[in-house]
């Protein structure tokens, strides 16, 4: 779409009834939704550039210069390791911990457990992943891409605390999600289906056709001696056999339909789930010592014919699954479900039909080009309507990152900010349920969480570098209004803050108090 046309559209939409946004208000709104909030002065510079031009730039992320991000990313060692490295480190750490456990149990001395250094190191490495997300969200100039990486990581949620996902998650985010955040939905869907992280998380890795058995593998001679010699009891052998997966596992099939594609009201049945699960039998992962990559095990695949959604899948190995994913990716229910979720993120908790319909139309026209779908949302009148502007409450992640951006706090590679986000109730990648975290305010606003936000605000206020300590309180509060809230501070907030400052004479104290109240107050919770 040529820029001039977009500019026209923008002109039309901002003139829609009820929306009398100034160029600066439009820029601030766009920064609140397509980015993690505004840095001081940023709303003005985008207003000067033209908000629709900025949105087009964000949609073309590869061409947005991002000079500072590389230097920040270099601080994170986790990016230097591939999946096999991490698998190895995790295996070593687990062995070391087991060894120490045995020792501790033998000597009755549990204090030695704290010496499990490799596991601690591995955990710290895992923690870097959360901190990295915060640094990228705060620092990157390609803000919309970061928002979309977060959106898809949450849509295709994987819980980092489940077994092998402790070491599979980094490559899931870096290699599966990140490169496809702006691509075609279909490619993203297939990539997640083939990702070891998802295959492990939703148990498809152990889904096998009933009655199938792995081809007989004669173990090496030395193992044979060990296994069938004195060391293994028949009972242990029997138990090992029992641990081998023996049937289909429906978990992935169910969540694929309910959460990833059609949606809970997508009109499928339990029989459909079973047929889908049969199609994905054999989609599995290699053992960790071989890198834990994707593998299709033909012996575990159900070779029978499957009937689902009016389609017939005859014995065609892995291609059955690919064919099904391509079909699901462009079903109307999927387009509607995913578009509504995008609109809940970008427009309103309960999105109006108009923007959802616009997104679905763009999806149909472009065969699921995510950029086109997003563009349709950002040019829809609903996005710019008065009802949408500042109607959403920030999630804990959005709250912390937007505060960091507004206050000029320099995010570092320590876990400090990640811990803060966790304390506010959204520990990153730690949602056990495949639903991911909720987008709506009722999940984030409760009394304990609000008190925690106020504490966080006071803490961040101490490090604020974007507001100088000045004597004149009125000037101080006006500066906070401009720099932190792009001029949207309510009269009530202004009055209350000024009242609080009356007997504070130390400018530094006044600054921390005023910034803290502004960040922890109701205006800054909204976006």
């Amino acid at each position: 779409m040529p820029l001039s046309l977009i500019a026209t559209l923008c002109l039309l939409t901002t003139q829609a009834p009820g929306a009398s946004l100034t160029p600066r208000d439009s820029a601030f709104h766009a920064l609140n939704r397509l980015a993690y909030g505004a840095r001081p002065g940023e709303a003005d510079s985008i207003a000067r550039l033209g908000v629709m031009r900025w949105i087009e730039q964000q949609l073309d992320a590869d061409h947005v210069p991002d000079p500072r991000i590389a230097e920040h990313e270099r601080q994170f060692k986790i990016l230097d390791y591939d999946r096999a490295d991490l698998a190895g480190r995790y295996r070593d750490a687990t062995r070391e911990r087991q060894r120490l456990q045995r020792e501790a149990a033998a000597t009755g001395d549990s204090t030695r457990m704290r010496d499990a250094r490799p596991m601690q190191e591995f955990r710290e490495l895992g923690g870097q992943l959360q901190q990295l997300a915060i640094v990228r969200a705060a620092v990157s100039e390609r803000q919309l891409r970061e928002v979309m990486v977060d959106f898809w990581t949450n849509h295709f949620n994987v819980f980092v605390g489940k077994g092998a996902d402790r070491f599979l998650l980094p490559s899931y985010i870096e290699e599966t999600i990140r490169p496809r955040a702006f691509g075609r939905f279909e490619d993203l869907l297939i990539a997640t289906a083939e990702s070891p992280a998802m295959l492990f998380y939703l148990d498809n890795a152990q889904s096998v056709a009933p009655g199938s058995r792995p081809p007989a593998q004669r173990p090496p001679a030395f193992l044979l001696r060990r296994r069938f010699g004195m060391n293994e009891m028949p009972e242990e052998r029997r138990q090992r056999e029992q641990r081998r997966p023996t049937g289909i596992n429906e978990n992935y099939a169910r969540e694929l339909l309910e959460l990833h594609t059609l949606g809970v009201d997508g009109g499928y049945t339990q029989q459909d789930i079973i047929e889908v699960a049969r199609i994905f039998t054999g989609w599995s992962i290699e053992p960790p010592e071989r890198g834990s990559g994707f593998v299709f095990r033909d012996w575990a695949h159900d070779h029978g014919t499957k009937h689902v959604f009016g389609l017939t899948f005859r014995d065609d190995g892995k291609d059955e699954g690919i064919k099904l994913l391509k079909f699901l990716a462009n079903e109307h229910a999927t387009m509607h479900h995913v578009s509504a979720k995008l609109c809940a993120r970008f427009v309103a908790d309960e999105p109006p039909d108009g923007c959802v319909d616009a997104a679905v139309t763009a999806w149909q026209q472009t065969h699921g080009d995510i950029r086109a779908v997003l563009r349709a949302i950002f040019t829809s009148p609903d996005f710019w309507s008065a009802q949408a502007v500042r109607s959403k409450v920030k999630t804990p992640f959005e709250f912390v990152v937007s505060a960091v951006r507004a206050t000029g706090v320099e995010p570092d590679d320590t876990p400090r900010l990640a811990q803060l986000v966790a304390r506010l109730g959204e520990p990153l990648y730690q949602q056990p349920a495949p639903t991911g975290y909720a987008e709506t305010e009722e999940h984030w606003v409760n009394s304990g969480a609000l008190l925690a936000r106020m504490n966080a605000a006071m803490m961040l206020a101490k490090d604020c570098s974007s507001i100088p300590a000045i004597d004149d309180h009125a000037q101080l509060v006006e500066m906070i209004n401009q720099q932190l809230l792009a001029g949207t501070m309510s009269a009530h907030t202004r009055t209350v803050i000024l009242e609080q400052l009356t007997d504070i004479h130390d400018p530094e104290q006044a600054r921390v108090m005023a910034v803290g109240l502004a960040l922890g107050g109701p205006d800054f919770q909204r976006q």
Binding site: G108, K162, E235, N446, S447, G448, L450, N455, T493
Partner: protein
């Protein structure tokens, strides 16, 4: 609807009637006792305290079937010798570390539930804990926990911020959902964290005023709840709390947590559900028998529960404490003198309303043919039947169908854990 729902409910049943809707409390189901409920902060309000033994406790060494020869055959190194067991009924006995609970058994306020667990066969801690907390075994996408769903539905007492409290840094899955619930890591540090009291009060007032101007949305009502909670707690003054005379909680996290729960109960702030984790039960290696690793964990549990019971004294007449764990452990000990992930486990219920002095549930036996998949204790009681009974008969829950979707615990299957 989501924005106004909480405010709406807070304004009470009259608003519901005037809109032509049936207030939830008129729609009582067959489970409910038709007894008038005390106001939320009254001291005789029923309370449920749940402890989740994360890691899968070995039910067989907690409540020992010392009358079963198979128990001793399968566990040559880790079985608790019959002479050490604190006998309960000639067949079962308490692990000696739980001896402090024997007097509760004798006065009929402690019951054990054996062979309880999930209909789902998973032996993954993660999945099994998830199922136990969502209350939907086998269904992973359930968004909220069963305790929260109970609070969503039975909202008669929704007007205290302390109705449902999880002790820990984050809200656990069991309490996740749209009904307000609090996660409190440390009672004494709840509220705004400012060292000096005067400064703290001042900041609290400032934020209170800020949010007072935020209109009528969820932000405003939640902040009001939060500041109410801070005020209530300030009046209760947790820093001054002393347990009842002669009561000493064991050192460690569990003791501290139960002390704080007791404190909150005595403060009459409207607590109805308290939840806490207690970990360290995944005994794959050298679990020990009468002494050792598991014995040490059980000792802490026994001492903490006994202290809690004595600390609350008369207040226990309307308190039920329930332990739960995601699954049990293998009947046979493994090569490392430990046990691996199994199926059914045992739970403990104590308190005045408990129909104690009995081991509840149908005992399946330990014979090979009686086992689940040939190796584990079979589940004869679905955990939802026990949870459901406690909700219905102790907390007077009105609609168990929405608490446990897809499964309606039936009074026919209730074990009789709560006195009639």
């Amino acid at each position: 609807m989501s924005i106004s729902r909480r405010v709406f409910v807070k304004n009470g049943g009259l608003a519901l009637v005037s809109l032509g809707l049936d207030p939830l409390f008129l729609a009582r189901s067959v489970f409910a006792r038709y007894r008038p409920l005390p106001p939320p902060t009254a001291s005789d309000r029923p309370i449920l305290v749940c402890l989740f033994q994360r890691g899968a406790v070995d039910g067989l060494n907690m409540i020992v079937p010392h009358g079963e020869p198979a128990y001793y055959q399968e566990r040559p190194r880790i079985a608790v010798p019959a002479g050490d067991v604190v006998d309960l009924d000639g067949h079962f006995g308490l692990h000696p570390s739980l001896a402090p609970l024997k007097e509760l058994w004798d006065n009929k306020s402690l019951a054990a539930i054996h062979a309880i667990g999930s209909p789902d066969a998973t032996r993954s801690h993660f999945d099994a804990q998830d199922y136990m907390e969502t209350g939907t075994p086998g269904v992973k996408s359930t968004g909220d926990g069963w305790m929260n769903r109970y609070c969503q539905h039975d909202r008669e007492h929704a007007d205290t911020p302390f109705r449902a409290v999880a002790f820990g840094p984050q809200l656990p899955r069991i309490l996740a959902g749209s009904a307000p619930s609090l996660a409190i890591d440390d009672l004494q540090a709840f509220g705004l964290r400012v060292p000096q009291e005067a400064a703290r009060d001042r900041l609290t007032r400032a934020f209170e005023e800020l949010y007072d101007g935020a209109g009528t949305g969820l932000l405003a009502s939640s902040s009001r709840e939060g500041f109410e909670a801070v005020q209530m707690l300030k009046r209760a003054d947790p820093t001054q709390y002393r347990p009842a005379a002669g009561v000493e909680y064991p050192p460690g996290r569990l003791g501290k947590t139960l002390l704080q729960i007791a404190q909150l109960i005595k403060a009459d702030v409207g607590l109805e559900i308290a939840f806490a984790d207690c970990s360290g039960w995944d005994t794959h290696v050298n679990q020990g028998s009468s002494d050792g690793q598991l014995a040490a964990r059980l000792r802490e549990l026994g001492l903490a529960l006994a202290a809690f019971n004595r600390d609350l004294g008369e207040r226990m007449h309307n308190v039920v404490v329930l332990t739960m764990s995601e699954f049990g452990r293998t009947i046979r000990e493994n090569g490392n003198s430990g046990t691996d992930h199994g199926h059914a486990t045992a739970m403990l219920a104590l308190g005045g309303p408990v129909n104690g002095g009995r081991v509840l549930g149908k005992w399946p036996g330990l014979g090979v043919e009686q086992r689940f998949e040939g190796r584990d204790v079979a589940v004869t009681t679905d955990f939802r039947d026990l949870f459901g009974e406690i909700l219905a008969r102790h907390l007077s829950a009105t609609d168990l169908g929405t608490v446990f979707p897809g499964y309606t615990p039936s009074p026919d299957r209730f074990l009789g854990a709560i006195r009639g």
